[in-house]
C-alpha cells in the first residue's frame, strides 16, 4: 500500500514537473497575458522603495516600475511589488519570480555577465559613504582605523569598504547582518562606530530611522561609484529595450520641458522630437512592440525624471538630496537620453 502511494506520488510529481514550462516565454508576452508587471523592490528604503502603513509603495524605484507598467500595459497601477533583501534579489530575477528588478542595485561587470543579467540604464548615480555619530568627533573617513562598521551582506558596499580599508592600510571589524532593519538597529544601538552604504541610503536612514537625525553626520568622502539602475534577465532583448527606453523617455521629457501638468498641451507641440516621443508622430511604439502612446502613458504616470527625483528624494523631502550627478547633462549632470527616433 505504502509503495503504491509513493509510486503514485512519484509519477504525479514527474508529470507536473514535465508539464510546467521552464520559463514563462518572452517577458513582454507574459506581462501582457498576466495583466501586471511584477517588480522587485527593497524591503524598505525611504525615497527609493518604501511601503506606507496601508501597503502603498513609493519612491524612485517604485515610480520607475509604474512608468514601465504604464508604457507596456497603459495602466500605471498594474504593478505587483515583491519586497526583496539584497541577497534574494538576483535569484528572484534569474528564476523568473519577478520581471524587473528596480531595487537600488549597482551596475557591475560581474552582475551584468556571470549572473546572467542586463542593466537597462542608470536611474540614480550614487557613491558609497560613511555615517558616524557626531559625538565621535570624526571628520574624515581616514580617521576610521579600527572602527566597527555596520554593513549589509551581498552588496557591492561590503566589497568597497574592504577595498577602501585595504587600500589605506587600515583595519576594521565588519558587523554584517542580512536584514536592513537589524543592521539599522545594531548601528543605532551603538554596536558599530560607522554605518556604510550608498550616500543616498545613508541620507534616507538618517532622515527616517535615526532617533535624532542631528546626532549623526555623513562623512565627506565617497569611496566608490554606485550607478543604480533597473535590471532584467539576459536573453530577452525586447523587454530590455522597453525598460531602457522608458527610462530614456523620462529623461528626454525633462530635457524637453514635458511635465505631468503640461503633457496634454505638449501633445500638440510643433517640435518634431516631442511629437515623436509622445507618439503624435507614429513609429517609436511599433518599433518597441508597444502602443504609440507608451511614453505619453509613462510620463502621465510619474512625470519626467526631474519630477520623479524631486518628489521622492529632492530638496522638499526628508532626504533633501541635491540633484548633483543626477542632473541633466545640459546642467552639468550625467542624465543623458539617447535620441528617441
Amino acid at each position: 500500500m505504502k509503495t503504491k502511494a509513493a509510486l503514485v506520488a512519484a509519477t504525479g510529481f514527474v508529470a507536473i514537473a514535465a508539464t510546467a514550462p521552464a520559463f514563462a516565454g518572452e517577458t513582454l508576452d507574459a506581462i501582457r497575458e498576466r495583466g501586471t508587471l511584477i517588480c522587485g523592490v527593497s524591503t524598505g528604503l525611504s525615497g527609493f522603495s518604501m511601503p506606507d502603513s496601508e501597503g502603498n509603495w513609493s519612491g524612485i524605484d517604485v515610480d520607475f516600475c509604474h512608468a514601465v507598467a504604464a508604457a507596456i500595459l497603459g495602466d500605471s497601477d498594474a504593478v505587483e511589488f515583491v519586497a526583496l533583501t539584497a541577497q534574494q534579489r538576483f535569484t528572484a530575477l534569474q528564476s523568473g519570480e519577478i520581471d524587473l528588478l528596480s531595487r537600488n542595485t549597482t551596475w557591475t561587470l560581474t552582475r551584468d555577465t556571470a549572473l546572467g543579467l542586463n542593466f537597462a540604464g542608470v536611474t540614480f548615480y550614487d557613491g558609497q559613504g560613511f555615517m558616524v555619530p557626531k559625538e565621535l568627533g570624526v571628520t574624515s573617513a581616514m580617521e576610521l582605523n579600527g572602527a566597527a562598521v555596520c554593513v549589509q551582506p551581498g552588496t557591492t558596499t561590503e566589497l568597497n569598504v574592504a577595498d577602501f580599508f585595504r587600500a589605506n592600510g587600515m583595519e576594521f571589524e565588519p558587523v554584517v547582518i542580512e536584514s536592513l532593519e537589524e543592521v539599522n538597529a545594531a548601528y543605532f544601538a551603538g554596536r558599530c562606530d560607522v554605518y556604510t552604504t550608498d550616500a543616498s541610503g545613508l541620507a534616507s536612514i538618517r532622515a527616517t530611522v535615526a532617533p535624532n537625525p542631528d546626532d549623526h553626520t555623513i562623512l565627506p568622502e565617497l569611496i566608490s561609484k554606485e550607478p543604480l539602475g533597473p535590471v532584467v534577465r539576459h536573453g530577452d532583448d525586447e523587454f530590455l529595450d522597453v525598460v531602457k527606453w522608458t527610462l530614456y523617455a523620462l529623461i528626454e521629457a525633462e530635457e524637453k520641458g514635458i511635465t505631468q501638468a503640461n503633457l496634454e498641451e505638449m501633445r500638440a507641440s510643433e517640435d518634431p522630437t516631442i511629437s515623436r516621443l509622445l507618439g503624435t508622430t507614429a513609429g517609436n511604439g511599433e518599433a518597441l512592440g508597444l502602443s504609440e502612446d507608451w511614453a505619453y502613458n509613462a510620463i502621465a504616470a510619474v512625470g519626467n525624471y526631474g519630477e520623479m527625483f524631486e518628489r521622492n528624494v529632492g530638496a522638499d523631502t526628508p532626504l533633501a538630496l541635491e540633484r548633483g550627478l543626477n542632473d541633466l547633462w545640459t546642467r552639468g549632470g550625467l542624465m543623458y537620453a539617447m535620441p528617441a527616433r
Partner: protein
C-alpha cells in the same frame, strides 16, 4: 504433468505473486525517482546555459574581497572564496561544539533539578524548561543580541568588573597570557596529563576487577591534571605576564574579544537546547524503575554509588538516542547566525553566493557540510550508544 501445470500457472501470475509485485513496484519507484532527478538536473543545466549564468566550482579560487569579523585561521579580504568557506565552516564548528558541551552540562543540571524534592528548585527548573523550549529560537537570539547591544554601555565607558576585563556592546574583552615558553609548556603538559589520567584510570579499574582493591582515582586524577602543568609552568620560568586589553582609538588592542554576535548565538543555542536535554535527562532517570534503587540499597551500596553505578548507566540508554537528535538540531540551528551577523557557514556562503551568483554551488556546499557534520555526530553517538547498551548475558 501436474507439476508442470503448477509451474506454468506460477509463472503466469507474477502480478498476483506478492513478491513479484513488490519487485515491480520498487523498480518503478526507483525508475521514477531517477527520472525525476534527471529531469530536474538537466533542466537546471539547460536553463543556466540559456541565461549564460556561469556554473562550476572554479569561483572558489578567486579573491573573496570581503572581510570576516572573526576567524580561527588567518583570513583577509585578499583570501579566496574557498578560504572564506573554510572560515565559515570552522566558525560553525566552534559554536556547535561549545554549544553542545554547555547545553549538555546545563541540561543535565536542570533535568536533575526538575526531580529535586525541593519544591522551589523543581518549579524553577520547570519554569525554565517550559519557557525556553516554547519560544522560537530566532526570537530568543534577537532578544539576547538586543540585550547585549542595547543594554550594555559603549566601548568608551565599559563595565570593568575585574582589572583587564571589559564588558561593552562591542563584546567581552578578556586578557590572555602573553606568548611565553612557560605557558606553552604548561599547555602541552595539560594534554599529557589528560592522557596519563585516562591510562591510570584503566589500570586502576583492571586492578580492581582482579584484586578488588579500590584506587583513589579522583585524588590521583586531580593531582596529575593540576600538578603536571604547574610543574611545567614553573620549569618554563613561571611567567606571570598577561596581554591586557587597552582602548586605542576605536577598539581594544590586546586580549581576546568575545563578540556580541558569538555570545548571543552561543547563549541562545545553549539555553534553548538545554531545555530539551533537561526533559530527556528527567525522562531517562524516571525510566529506571525505583526497584533498582531499592535493590542496590539492599546490597549496601551508598547513595552516590547507586546513582553512578546503577541508575545512570541504565538511564543513559534512554537518554542517548534523543540527545543525539538535540545535538544535530543545535548544529543545524546554528545557521540562524545569519539573523544576528555571526559569520558561520551560511552567513559567509550567502555573501559568496551573492557576490558570485553561484547559488546552486554555494547551496550544495552548505548541504554537504551540514550533512557531513550531522553524520559525524550520528556515527559518534551511535558508537557511544552501542558502547553503553545493556549487554545481555
Amino acid at each position: 504433468m501436474a507439476v508442470d501445470t503448477l509451474h506454468v500457472s506460477d509463472r503466469a501470475s507474477l502480478w498476483n505473486d506478492p513478491r513479484g509485485r513488490a519487485i515491480i513496484y520498487q523498480v518503478v519507484v526507483i525508475g521514477g525517482v531517477v527520472l525525476l532527478f534527471w529531469y530536474l538536473i538537466s533542466n537546471t543545466m539547460a536553463n543556466l546555459e540559456r541565461q549564460q549564468i556561469a556554473s562550476g566550482y572554479g569561483f572558489l579560487d578567486r579573491e573573496a574581497g570581503f572581510e570576516i569579523s572573526e576567524s580561527l585561521v588567518s583570513y583577509s579580504a585578499a583570501s579566496t572564496y574557498g578560504r572564506a568557506f573554510l572560515v565559515g565552516i570552522l566558525n560553525t564548528f566552534k559554536v556547535s561544539i561549545l554549544g553542545i558541551v554547555f547545553a549538555t552540562i546545563l541540561g543535565t543540571l536542570i533535568g536533575i533539578a526538575r526531580l529535586s524534592s525541593n519544591w522551589l528548585v523543581a518549579k524553577l527548573a520547570m519554569t525554565y524548561v517550559e519557557t525556553l523550549r516554547n519560544i522560537p529560537l530566532l526570537l530568543q537570539l534577537f532578544l539576547w543580541y538586543g540585550v547585549i547591544t542595547v543594554s550594555l554601555p559603549g566601548p568608551r565607558d565599559p563595565i570593568n568588573p575585574l582589572p583587564g576585563v571589559f564588558l561593552s556592546n562591542r563584546g567581552f574583552i578578556i586578557p590572555v597570557p602573553e606568548a611565553h615558553l612557560g605557558y606553552t609548556m604548561a599547555a602541552v603538559a595539560l594534554l599529557v596529563a589528560i592522557v596519563l589520567t585516562v591510562v591510570v584510570n584503566r589500570w586502576a579499574k583492571a586492578r580492581q576487577a582482579v584484586t578488588g582493591q579500590p584506587f583513589p582515582m579522583l585524588a590521583a586524577g586531580a593531582g596529575i591534571i593540576v600538578g603536571l602543568p604547574l610543574l611545567a609552568w614553573l620549569a618554563g620560568g613561571a611567567p606571570v605576564g598577561f596581554d591586557v586589553p587597552e582602548l586605542q582609538g576605536f577598539r581594544y588592542v590586546g586580549g581576546v574579544p568575545i563578540r556580541p554576535e558569538f555570545a548571543a548565538l552561543l547563549f541562545g543555542l545553549t539555553t534553548y537546547t538545554a531545555s530539551f536535554i533537561a526533559e530527556i535527562v528527567r525522562s531517562g532517570i524516571q525510566a529506571v524503575s525505583y526497584g533498582q534503587t531499592e535493590a542496590a540499597a539492599a546490597l549496601g551500596l551508598r547513595k552516590g554509588m547507586i546513582l553512578r553505578l546503577i541508575v545512570l548507566p541504565q538511564a543513559m540508554r534512554v537518554i542517548i538516542p534523543p540527545t543525539t537528535s538535540q545535538y544535530l538540531n543545535l548544529t543545524k540551528n546554528s545557521s540562524l547566525a545569519v539573523a544576528i551577523g555571526y559569520p558561520d557557514l551560511v552567513h559567509v556562503g550567502n555573501t559568496t553566493l551573492n557576490q558570485t551568483g553561484q547559488a546552486i554551488e554555494a547551496i550544495s556546499i552548505f548541504m554537504a557540510v551540514y550533512l557531513g557534520i550531522s553524520l559525524g555526530i550520528s556515527f559518534f553517538m551511535n558508537w557511544y550508544n552501542r558502547h553503553i547498551a545493556l549487554v545481555e548475558r
